[in-house]
C-alpha cells in the first residue's frame, strides 16, 4: 500500500458512531440472530463501506444506526446518544422508492416536510430549500427533469434523485443500502463520482452497504468485511488514496492490490463451490 499515489490524512474527528458488542435479532427475543458482537467506530465525516455476503446483517446494522430497530444487546451510540430517528439521517435504498404521485422536485423536498429539524423553517419559507433542491438536481444533470414524474426517468436518473433526496436536509449521517446495485456498470461508475462529490461537499458521516468491492474501495476511507449470518466484522481495511478519486484509479496496481486483499477476506467466508463435483453432478 506504500506505493499509493498520495496518502490521505488520518481522520481525527470525534466519534460519530460507536457500536460495542452489538447483537441484532429479528422477530424479538429468541428470533433469528442477524448480527453478533459487532464493534464499529466511525469518526465524524468518515466514509465507511461494509461489504459481505447477502443476508449477513449489513442492512440490519443500518436500521440500527437509523434508529429504526433497536439492538438486542450491546451498546450503540450515535453522536454520543442512543440511536433515534431524529431526521438527522439521510437514507437511500437499492430501490429508489420515489413516490410516484410526486414530481422529482416534490420527491426531493419530502424530507424537509417531515424532518423535525427543518419542517418549521420549511413551512415558513420554502424558497431557499427549493432553490437548493434545484441546484442539487441540476448539478447531478437533472435540471430539465425537476417537474417530471419518477416513471418518466431511467433507473440511473431515479437513483440520482434518491441520492439528492437523501442529502437535501443536510443530514449529519448518510446511510446507503446498496444504492447502485441495480444499475448497469457505466451508470454505476457515474454515480460513484456523483456520490463522492456530494460527500466531499457536505461531509456527512457515511455508511455504504455494498456487494461491490470496487465501489467500496473507490469511495470509502475504511472498508469493513462482514461474515455470513449472523454477521460480524472479520476484517477492516483502510483505503489510503487521496481525494477526489478518479475512475482511473481503479485501473492502477495499487487499487487492484486493495481489491485482491478484500476479495481474499470476503472469499474466505463463503461456503466454497466445488466446481469439479458440480460438473459431475450436473452431467
Amino acid at each position: 500500500m506504500s506505493a499509493a499515489p498520495t496518502t490521505a490524512a488520518p481522520n481525527t474527528e470525534p466519534l460519530a458512531i460507536d457500536l460495542r458488542g452489538v447483537h441484532m435479532r429479528y422477530g424479538g427475543p429468541g428470533g433469528t440472530l442477524a448480527a453478533q458482537d459487532v464493534n464499529l467506530t466511525v469518526r465524524t465525516g468518515e466514509f465507511v463501506a461494509i461489504v459481505g455476503p447477502s443476508g449477513c446483517g449489513k442492512s440490519t446494522l443500518l436500521r440500527l444506526v437509523a434508529g429504526l430497530m433497536p439492538a438486542a444487546s450491546g451498546t450503540a451510540l450515535i453522536s454520543g446518544a442512543p440511536p433515534k430517528a431524529t431526521g438527522n439521517t439521510g437514507i437511500a435504498f437499492q430501490n429508489p422508492s420515489l413516490l410516484l404521485w410526486r414530481t422529482v422536485l416534490q420527491n426531493v423536498l419530502l424530507p424537509l416536510e417531515v424532518s423535525p429539524k427543518h419542517k418549521a423553517a420549511y413551512r415558513r419559507d420554502r424558497a431557499p430549500y427549493v432553490a437548493r433542491a434545484r441546484r442539487l438536481l441540476s448539478a447531478v444533470g437533472l435540471g430539465d427533469f425537476v417537474d417530471r414524474h419518477p416513471w418518466e426517468l431511467s433507473g440511473g436518473m431515479q437513483q440520482r434523485v434518491n441520492l439528492v433526496r437523501s442529502l437535501i436536509h443536510a443530514p449529519d449521517f448518510l446511510l446507503l443500502d446498496e444504492p447502485f446495485s441495480a444499475l448497469d456498470a457505466f451508470t454505476r461508475e457515474e454515480l460513484w463520482l456523483a456520490l463522492q462529490a456530494l460527500w466531499m461537499g457536505a461531509r456527512p458521516t457515511v455508511i455504504l452497504v455494498t456487494h461491490d468491492l470496487r465501489e467500496a474501495a473507490l469511495l470509502a476511507d475504511t472498508v469493513y468485511v462482514m461474515s455470513a449470518r449472523p454477521g460480524t466484522f472479520t476484517a477492516q481495511h483502510e483505503v489510503p488514496f487521496a481525494r477526489p478519486r478518479a475512475l482511473n484509479l481503479t485501473f492502477t496496481p495499487e487499487f487492484t492490490d486493495v481489491i485482491h486483499d478484500l476479495r481474499a477476506r470476503v472469499g474466505g467466508l463463503r461456503s466454497p463451490i466445488r466446481a469439479e463435483e458440480l460438473m459431475e453432478a450436473v452431467s
Binding site: L68, I91, L99, W101, V114, S115, K117
Partner: protein, 274 residues
C-alpha cells in the same frame, strides 16, 4: 393534468373548440359509437323481426314512454337516486373506516376478514324481506340494501391499498423523524387512493342494484316500484324505460368518479396514456 386558467380582466375570445379540448374529447368517441351501435341493432332487430312491444319494445318506444310519463318517472327516479346515493355514502364512510382498520392492523385483518367474506356471500336480495320487517316499507330498506351491497368492495379495496404499501418509503420517512400520521398521510394514503377510486366506481353501480332490488321487493316509490307497476299493467316499454334510466344514472355517476379519479390519481394509470 392540464389546468384551465382564466386570466382575470381579459375577456375570453369566443371561437370554435380549441384543439386541446377536441383532443380530450377524442377518447369519448369509441364508447359513444358503441352505445349508438347497440341501440341501432336493438331498434333494427325489433323492426326487422316484428317483435311485439310487449315482448321487447324498441329503445325509441322505451325512451318515448319515459317522456310520456315524465312527471311520475321523475319522482321515482329522484327517489331511487336519493336512496342509492345515501346508501353509497354510508358504504364509503363506513367502508373506508373499516378498510383502514383492516388494512393497517394485521390482527384486525386476520380477525375480521373471514367474517367479511361470509357477510358478502349472503345474497342481499334475501335480506330485503328482513329489512322490511324491521324498518317497514319505504326508503330505509332501499338505502340499507344499497349500503350492504356496495360496502364490501370499498372495504376490500381500501384494505388492500393500505396493506400493500411498500415498506421502503415508510421506513425512509420514519428514519427522517416523521410521525405515524405523517407516514400515513404522505405515503399510505396517496398510495391507497387508486384502490379507493377503483372501488367507488364499482360500488356506485352496485348501490343502484341494491336500491332497485329493494324497491322491486317492497317499496312505495322508486324506479323498481315503477317497473313493477308498469309490468303488471303490461306497459312493457315503460319497464324498459326504467331499465334504461337506471343504467344511464349508473353510467353518469361512474363517469363522475372516473373523472375525479383521473384528476387525483392519474399517476397510477401512466401506462395507458399514449
Amino acid at each position: 393534468m392540464s389546468l384551465e386558467t382564466g386570466t382575470p380582466g381579459v375577456a375570453p375570445v369566443p371561437r370554435a373548440l380549441p384543439p386541446a379540448t377536441l383532443a380530450r374529447l377524442r377518447p369519448l368517441v369509441p364508447p359513444t359509437l358503441a352505445i349508438l351501435a347497440f341501440f341501432a341493432v336493438w331498434e333494427l332487430a325489433c323492426q326487422l323481426f316484428s317483435i311485439p312491444p310487449f315482448i321487447l319494445p324498441t329503445p325509441s318506444a322505451s325512451v318515448a314512454s319515459i317522456f310520456q310519463f315524465a312527471p311520475a318517472v321523475a319522482g321515482h327516479a329522484g327517489q331511487t337516486l336519493t336512496t342509492t346515493l345515501i346508501g353509497f355514502a354510508l358504504s364509503v364512510v363506513l367502508g373506508v373506516a373499516l378498510g383502514a382498520l383492516v388494512g393497517l392492523n394485521r390482527t384486525a385483518y386476520q380477525a375480521l376478514y373471514p367474517l367479511l367474506i361470509g357477510f358478502n356471500a349472503v345474497p342481499k336480495a334475501a335480506l330485503v324481506p328482513v329489512l322490511v320487517i324491521w324498518f317497514g316499507v319505504g326508503p330505509v330498506p332501499a338505502v340499507l340494501t344499497a349500503f350492504l351491497i356496495s360496502f364490501f368492495p370499498v372495504v376490500v379495496n381500501v384494505a388492500t391499498g393500505l396493506a400493500t404499501v411498500e415498506p421502503e418509503p415508510r421506513e425512509l420517512l420514519r428514519a427522517l423523524g416523521a410521525s405515524p400520521w405523517e407516514v400515513f398521510s404522505k405515503v399510505s394514503l396517496p398510495r391507497a387512493l387508486p384502490y379507493f377510486f377503483a372501488s367507488l366506481k364499482v360500488a356506485v353501480t352496485l348501490a343502484f342494484v341494491g336500491s332497485i332490488i329493494s324497491e322491486l321487493a317492497a317499496s312505495n316509490k322508486g324506479i323498481g316500484v315503477m317497473m313493477n307497476q308498469a309490468a303488471s299493467s303490461f306497459q312493457v316499454p315503460l319497464v324498459f324505460g326504467g331499465v334504461l334510466l337506471v343504467s344511464a344514472m349508473g353510467v353518469l355517476l361512474y363517469a363522475v368518479f372516473a373523472l375525479i379519479e383521473s384528476r387525483l390519481t392519474g399517476w397510477a394509470y401512466r401506462g395507458n396514456q399514449g
